[in-house]
Each structure stands twice: as C-alpha cells, then as structure tokens.
C-alpha cells in the first residue's frame, strides 16, 4: 500500500534533531481519542516514533484516567512532554522540569500560550523559557508563531528545533501562510517542524512540500471520524509531501503547455 521504509530511506535524507536521528517525519499527539485502544491503533498506523504527552495532576481518587504510561511503552515510542496549558515562562519551566524528572529524556515540546481564545503562542515568554531550559540541558522543541523573527530568536536561545504553527491549535485550517513557513525554513539552521493546524491529509502534504523537516499533529487524526484511517492517510501524505519537495516541483505557468506532440497531427 505504501512505499517501504527501506525505499523511503534511499529517497530521503536523514531526519536529525539535536544529534538524534528519527525514523518518521510525522510526530503525533495522544490527546482527544475516544479510547486508549483507538489511540494506540492510530499511533501505530501513523508510523510515528515521537508521541507527545502532557503533565497533569494524578487523580487521587483514581476515578478517572490512570496515566498514559499504562498504555504507551516508552521503549517503543519517544515520549515528548509538552507544556500545554502554560501561560507564563515560569509555569512552563516548572512543567518541563517535572516532565524531565519522569526520567525518560531531556526533550520538551515547549509551548507558552499567550491568549486563551486563539491559543496563539507568547513568543517572548517562549524565548525566555527556552533560554533557561536550554542552559539546564533540555533539548527544547519550541512551538511558536509563523513569524521569522521569533523563530530566529528561539534558535539563538538554544532551541534544537523550532515549531511554527500552520494555523491555530485544533483549528484544522491547514497551512495559512506558506510564505512565512518557507522563509523560516530558509533562514534557520535548526530543523523546522510545523506544529498545529493540520486538518486532513492534503494539509500535511502541503506542509511538507514547503521543505520543512517534519510535522506534528494531534486533533487532525484524533478528531477524524476514523482516526486509524486518517493516521494512515497522514503517514502517506507526509511521505508524499516530503518526496514531492525533494523531487522539485515543475514551475507554475499561467498558460497551458501541451503534453503531447503538436506535430504529426492528421489533415494539417
């Protein structure tokens, strides 16, 4: 059904962030699934190696969830803790430190939200938190706006990759500013992973066609009617978009150019 990983490996370049090589350019979240079984099935279908998780209080009365580590094997997946829900640099740093104390890795998907309604990131606070955490040895993957200057500042602050949004978290609006994403990719030395806003497979392909290194999504898969099918579609779309980028698309023209010979026609 799909190109084998071996074939892809010969067609693609290695995907490396912070000196670690990753096998999939698609990273996925673990929120919003109807059940843990569905989440696992969707993650497996996505082929993702990196899966994001959030840090929250344990429910002491044990009436609700029992924690995602009962379902996700940290040996099989790289757990990437996020700081979702944090609205200040201090809170974000606290959550990142808690996540690291879980003992799995030094990586954190840093997000500092600046506005409740749009969930758009607070770039200044993100830069501040990145600087602190990078100095503590964290490998910071910094979620940010599709803004070149914020992205450059995050790289300067020590982020191992920068994660501009395609569109707001959970919106499913797809890529709103291809120019901004391409500009960020052209100018940054660290990898660029587009995070948030992908709603369907074509969105994922368009993201990857901009030349970015990867894409992270959650709701686009989890909120699909059939998350396992959508996860498969996303995996194919990410590969397709990546290969299309590497292949180099034909130039766009405002006029038609025939594909068949114009000579040798009958009765001319």
């Amino acid at each position: 059904m799909t190109a084998t990983p071996d074939l892809l490996a010969t067609l693609d370049t290695p995907f490396i962030i912070g000196e670690r090589e990753f096998r999939s350019r698609l990273m996925v979240g673990t929120g919003k699934y109807a059940s843990n079984a569905q989440m696992i099935a969707a993650i497996e279908a996505s082929g993702a190696e990196v899966v994001t998780v959030s840090v929250r209080r344990v429910d002491l009365d044990r009436s609700k969830d029992e924690g995602i580590l009962h379902h996700l094997d940290p040996q099989r997946f790289m757990l990437l803790a996020n700081t979702a829900g944090c609205f200040s640099a201090d809170d974000t740093i606290r959550y990142a430190r808690l996540a690291r104390a879980a003992g799995f890795n030094e990586w954190v998907k840093l997000e500092v939200i600046g506005d409740q309604q749009t969930l758009l990131p607070d770039a200044a606070a993100t830069i501040e938190a990145t600087r602190v955490l990078a100095a503590e040895g964290f490998k910071v993957m910094a979620y940010t706006n599709d803004d070149l200057i914020s992205a450059l500042r995050l790289e300067d602050a020590g982020a191992v990759c920068v994660m501009p949004l395609a569109s707001p978290i959970g919106s499913g609006l797809g890529m709103l500013n291809e120019f901004a994403i391409r500009t960020i990719k052209h100018r940054l030395g660290v990898p660029v992973i587009v995070d948030a806003g992908v709603g369907t497979a074509s969105d994922a392909a368009i993201v990857m066609e901009q030349g970015v290194d990867g894409v992270l999504m959650n709701t686009g898969i989890a909120a699909a009617t059939d998350p396992v099918r959508m996860a498969t579609a996303m995996r194919l779309a990410v590969d397709a978009g990546r290969l299309a980028y590497l292949a180099g698309r034909m130039p766009k023209r405002e006029v038609a150019v025939p594909s068949s010979p114009t000579t040798g026609m009958l009765d001319r």
């Binding site: 840090v55 209080r57 969830d65």
Partner: protein, 90 residues
C-alpha cells in the same frame, strides 16, 4: 546518691505531658489531606496505590528527582505535595 529518684520518674513528675499528634494535615494536588504522623513519602504513595516509577513528585515546590530517597522523606504538617503523571496531549 541513693535517695534521689530515678531520672525517668523525675521527668514524669515535672514535665507536662506532650501529646504527639497522631495525624497531620497537608495539601496534596490542591486538596487538604490528613495522614498519620511520621508517614514516609513511599508509604503515602503506596497508600494511594501509586507506582513511584509512573509519577513525579514535587515536595514543597522542590521536584524530587531521586526515587530512591522516597522512603527516607517523612511528610510533615503543612507540606505541599504535587503528584503528577503523563496524560494524553498534543
């Protein structure tokens, strides 16, 4: 000095009886909780049926990175504990 009473009896007669409180109050994940005085962190986690490997503890705003230290940490009155774990998220 054979006529002096034994020291223990002397103390009992002169020192007012101090009642060691049998329980203490602390805050756990924002809720007031009462536990037996002298409870260690590892014993408290066990009473909550929590696997120490699957949670992270912040004790009075200090993140505990050494799980081997849990048995020697005795919870005190007024302590603030945050017990967190990983849940699904993007």
């Amino acid at each position: 000095m054979p006529n002096e009473p034994p020291a223990t009896i002397f103390r009992r007669m002169t020192t007012p009886l101090v009642h060691e409180p049998s329980t203490i109050a602390l805050t756990v994940n924002g809720d007031k909780r009462t536990i037996a005085a002298g409870t260690s962190l590892s014993a408290y986690l066990a009473s909550l049926k929590l696997d120490p490997r699957l949670v992270v503890i912040e004790h009075n705003r200090e993140i505990l990175r050494d799980r081997d230290a849990y048995p020697s940490i005795v919870l005190g009155a007024g302590d603030n504990l945050e017990i967190v774990h990983f849940v699904g998220g993007g």
